[in-house]
C-alpha cells in the first residue's frame, strides 16, 4: 500500500450512488466547467477526477461474472502534502458542490460539509497499491512558478537578441 510519492499524496473514495440519482449526478458533473473547475479552489490539487462506474466489465474467461449492486462514484485526487489537511480544505471549500455530488450518494451526511463529510470520505477511502509521480517533490505552486519563470526566460532571451549589451543586465534584473 502506497498513498504517497515524495510529497504527493493519492486519494480515492468509492461511494454508492443513491437509487435513481445516477443520471442527475452524471449531468451535474459533466456540466462542471473545466476552466474554473471547483477543484481549482483546492490549490494543492495537481490532477483530480470524478468517474461513475455502472458495473464491472466482465471477461468471457471469468468462471463467474461479477456485478455491482448499484452504480458507484469514484473521486480520485493527486495533491500536495498529507491527506488530513487536504480533506479539511476540500470539505470546506467544496461544500456547495459536495452537496450536489456526494449528497447523491448513500450515507453522505445531510450537510455534506465539514468533519461529517470528511469522515464519510475517509470511511469510503480505498488505499492505493502503487503510486508514481514524475515530479514527486514539486508542489503545484512550485510547478506553476517554474513554468512561469521558464516562459519569461524564453521571452527575455528572444528580446535580448536585439538589446544593446550595456542594457542587458538592468533589463534582466528588472524582469527577474
Amino acid at each position: 500500500m502506497s498513498n504517497t510519492s515524495g510529497q504527493a499524496t493519492a486519494f480515492m473514495a468509492l461511494t454508492p450512488i443513491r437509487p435513481g440519482s445516477e443520471g442527475s449526478l452524471r449531468s451535474y458533473l459533466e456540466a462542471l466547467p473545466q476552466a474554473g473547475s471547483p477543484l481549482a479552489r483546492l490549490a494543492g490539487t495537481h490532477f483530480a477526477r470524478w468517474v461513475i462506474v455502472r458495473d464491472w466489465v466482465n471477461d468471457p474467461a471469468q468462471p463467474r461474472e461479477d456485478h455491482l449492486e448499484s452504480p458507484y462514484l469514484i473521486f480520485t485526487s493527486n495533491f500536495d502534502g498529507p491527506l488530513d489537511p487536504y480533506l479539511d480544505e476540500l470539505c470546506m471549500k467544496l461544500a456547495p458542490e459536495a452537496r450536489e455530488i456526494w449528497g447523491r450518494c448513500v450515507g453522505c451526511p445531510p450537510d455534506a460539509t465539514g468533519p461529517q463529510l470528511k469522515a464519510y470520505l475517509l470511511h469510503n477511502k480505498i488505499d492505493t497499491g502503487f503510486f508514481v509521480a514524475a515530479y514527486p517533490h514539486a508542489t503545484v505552486a512550485q510547478v506553476k512558478a517554474a513554468l512561469d519563470a521558464r516562459e519569461r526566460l524564453i521571452s527575455f532571451a528572444v528580446m535580448a537578441q536585439a538589446m544593446p549589451a550595456a542594457d542587458l543586465q538592468s533589463a534582466f534584473l528588472a524582469e527577474f
Binding site: 510519492s5 490532477f47 470524478w50 466489465v57 508514481v132 514524475a134 506553476k144 517554474a146 542587458l168
Partner: protein, 203 residues
C-alpha cells in the same frame, strides 16, 4: 459479457473522449478483473515497486506521465441501506493515469517500453492480451476504460517534459540571478550567453 461501464463518447484528435481531456492533459481510467492468484501477486508487485523505485524506473522513461496509480479493490465499504452490501467474486484492479500527448501514442509507448512491466501489473487480469502487438491490447483497454465525468488539471497546458525542464531550470536561474546582481554590465553581457548555453536543454 457485460457492456463497457460507460458508453463511449465522440473521440477527439487526442484519441479519447473530450471529457477525458483538459488542455494537454488526458485522463485514463481502467478497471480489470483480477484472477485469484492476483490477490497474492499484486500486493507483492506493489510492495516491490514502492520499496525499490529504481527497479520500476522504466516508468520514468515514459516522459509524458504526470501521475499514475494502480489499486486493487478487494472490498467496497458499506454505508447502510439503501446500499446493498457488495460481495465481490474477484478483486478488481483500478488503473489511472494523468498524461499528455495522444491516447494511441500513450498505449503504444506503454506496450513497447513497458512490455515486461505491463505483464507484471496486468498479467493476473482476466482477458489481458500480451502487450504486443498493440492492437489487441488497445481493444482491451478501450473495453475496460471508463470515461471521466469531470477531469481537472492544475496546469493543463503544460506537458511533463515542460514541467521537468522548468523545475531543472528554476535553481539555475536563481543562482544566475544572485550572481548577476553583483556583476558589472560588461561581465553580465559576457556571461549571459554562457548561461543560456548552460540551460538551453531546459528551454
Amino acid at each position: 459479457m457485460s457492456e463497457p461501464a460507460a458508453p463511449p463518447g465522440p473521440v477527439t484528435a487526442t484519441g479519447t473522449d473530450p471529457a477525458n481531456v483538459d488542455g494537454q492533459a488526458i485522463a485514463i481510467t481502467v478497471f480489470s478483473t483480477v484472477k485469484w492468484i492476483g490477490r497474492l501477486w499484486l500486493p507483492l508487485v506493489f510492495w516491490f515497486a514502492t520499496t525499490f523505485p529504481r527497479a520500476s524506473g522504466t516508468l520514468a522513461r515514459l516522459s509524458f506521465i504526470h501521475f499514475a496509480r494502480w489499486t486493487m479493490v478487494r472490498h467496497i465499504p458499506y454505508n447502510g441501506a439503501p446500499q446493498r452490501q457488495e460481495k465481490l467474486n474477484y478483486p478488481h484492479l483500478y488503473f489511472e493515469s494523468n498524461f499528455n500527448g495522444g491516447w494511441e501514442e500513450y498505449i503504444d509507448a506503454f506496450s513497447h517500453i513497458l512490455t515486461r512491466g505491463m505483464k507484471v501489473f496486468w498479467g493476473t487480469s482476466y482477458g489481458f492480451p500480451q502487450p504486443l502487438p498493440t492492437g489487441p491490447f488497445k481493444t482491451y483497454i478501450k473495453r475496460n476504460e471508463i470515461v471521466a465525468s469531470h477531469f481537472y488539471g492544475a496546469y493543463p497546458e503544460a506537458t511533463t517534459t515542460m514541467i521537468l525542464s522548468s523545475l531543472e531550470l528554476a535553481p539555475k536561474l536563481e543562482e544566475f540571478k544572485s550572481r548577476a546582481r553583483n556583476m558589472s554590465a560588461e561581465a553580465f553581457a559576457e556571461q549571459w550567453p554562457q548561461f543560456l548555453a548552460e540551460v538551453q536543454d531546459c528551454l
